[in-house]
Symmetry: C2
């Protein structure tokens, strides 16, 4: 079967992202290319596990691996200390050693949680990401960010920890609910807007949700190539990697304050359009950019309007964003499609800076 390989090389690890249609049907071959037979903690959730875990376990067992399946409840609430402790205790009970490994089979929650657990158990076990949601395939599985949430905010605890392999099978998208599929597309539009050119042209051809699956391989490849390039230049978010936060300052605040009402990619869709409207008002982004973004996002049914949230809470959420350094919050905005820039705004001026958005 055709396979697209995107190499990623950071200071700490070199690995491949492999995009293989029906890749889950030959997963043992891919695993065997990076791990000799060993013990494996296969971490999945209550949605993805029943669909694919048995298939993966059978193949790996036949190939000589000793696999234990550890299942967490589906949903963001599993990115918690409780699940970290539960998984680590299970891995310790299995007597996993440093020559064993962790496979994350699932969406972004499973990838973030399993990646974090793999990074801290015995100070780091080898990790393979098998992302099954579009969001995880284009975004969270690549780049080595792992995380759990705190009551005060998302992803406030975690590590930079690169996997040994990322295996993407676009066939898993066929079992995704429509809303999850659309959500993943939010991050793709973000990448396309940052890259421009042929990638943006591809995105302009997606006019309905049904267009996503036939174009999935091309969309995922373009997104992963871009993300890999950014991560290789800047593993730990000192410079260029900040560009990936486009739409995320408002997005994270909306997601946090919505308390589960918006999925991550939906909140990012809102954030992309709203930050562009804000920077249009400040005359830093050309008029019409926000509408262009909104058209692409609305084509698959993603939300783009700022919900009615208390201004003081939005401000508070932004002030506690991980993107605050010292007393500055760094925003990403477009001077054109494909031309992103950074702008640091002092936290003390944030309320004034947001005024155009809030009056809207």
């Amino acid at each position: 079967m055709p396979m697209t390989i995107i190499p990623v090389k950071t200071a700490t690890q070199a690995y491949d992202v492999r995009l293989v249609d029906h890749g889950l049907d030959q997963i043992a071959e891919h695993i065997a290319s990076v791990w000799t037979p060993c013990r494996v903690a296969l971490i999945t959730d209550t949605t993805v596990g029943p669909l694919y875990a048995a298939k993966v376990v059978t193949q790996l067992t036949n190939a000589g691996y000793c696999v234990n399946v550890l299942t967490v409840p589906a949903g963001e609430a599993s990115k918690s200390w409780t699940q970290v402790e539960r998984l680590i205790t299970a891995m310790s009970t299995m007597h996993l050693t440093r020559s064993d490994g962790v496979i994350a089979l699932g969406g972004g929650v499973v990838g973030d949680l399993a990646g974090f657990v793999a990074s801290i158990y015995l100070r780091g076990l080898s990790l393979i990401q098998v992302p099954t949601s579009l969001l995880a395939q284009v975004d969270s599985s690549v780049g080595g960010k792992t995380a759990i949430d705190l009551p005060t905010g998302k992803n406030l605890v975690g590590s930079f920890y690169q996997p040994a392999l990322v295996l993407i099978d676009p066939q898993t998208l066929t079992t995704l609910p429509a809303r999850s599929l659309a959500e993943g597309y939010g991050e793709i539009v973000k990448c396309a807007a940052l890259v421009g050119g042929a990638f943006w042209a591809l995105v302009t051809q997606i006019n309905q949700l049904a267009d996503l699956i036939p174009n999935a391989a091309a969309l995922i490849t373009a997104s992963v190539q871009f993300k890999a390039q950014v991560v290789m230049a800047d593993e730990k978010e000192g410079g260029q990697r900040q560009l990936l936060n486009f739409g995320h300052t408002i997005g994270h605040a909306v997601e946090l304050l919505g308390q589960g009402r918006w999925m991550h990619g939906e909140a990012v869709a809102i954030g992309l359009v709203q930050v562009s409207r804000l920077f249009e008002a400040h005359q830093l982004t050309p008029a019409g950019t926000a509408d262009q973004l909104a058209a692409r996002l609305q084509a698959v049914g993603l939300p783009t309007s700022l919900p009615d949230l208390p201004v003081t809470q939005l401000l508070a959420a932004m002030q506690h964003d991980k993107k605050v350094h010292g007393n500055q919050l760094t925003w990403v905005y477009l001077t054109a499609i494909g031309r992103p820039e950074l702008r640091a705004v002092p936290v003390l001026q944030l309320k004034d800076w947001l005024a155009p958005m809030i009056k809207d």
Copy 2:
């Protein structure tokens, strides 16, 4: 005041270990050389905090830092999920950002715990180690290993995370209980036995506990230089760093099974002598080596005899050691003072391998 600087450079970080007599009295200058004024979580414990925290806070506050002191109960039990969650919650409540930092002021427990917390909060805040026990000064503060314990074993969760600075003030040793001072010397003897030469000659001049303080600067410098050199060659324990585990396979098992009866350095002292006796029995270490080690350790009152522990439990503890890779346990032994070697023993042969020790 005279200062000894030992530079450490790994793939992820370059930093100095500074040995400064009365360094705590000028700590703000040292901190200011690596951090501009920022918020600081000063993590300490109920023993060390009352001695030094006020002095540190006053100096840092005067220099423009905003310091919160976070105190954990003294003792190994603080290397727990409970304290990790408590500290992370406090740091989140303080709204520490990525341009802020963590100072670990205390012994090995504080250094391991605070280092781990610093490594995972916001995926990593800058960390300064200010070790106040001899064990922490010569061993745990240098090299970037952080850890907490699990019910199944010590240091089973953690990270490799290098500090921005290690500041050692030998004056803090004057307030250490005699038992803690002796404990730290166990790791020094380990280093001297691995290095040999002038370092071993220095150690042969320590004939009583009272000899430690006058020679502290020389002993700490030699130990840190050796450890820094090993860590620079092998940050993540693939090869040469394994040498630092000399005495630790038996030592960790004794420490675990003793349930608090032996301090870490005491258990290592037992491990150094016992592993040497074992390898003498296997004719890999020259006869008399264990006695040489025992003489150095007993000079300051350290234990060296194997306590009466159930063999099955000792074996089980060793099998779950982090040093087990695949199905092999790698031992460090001496072919002479200053000439260490590695030997991998299959876990299945471990009982036979240990037979000479157990009969003893």
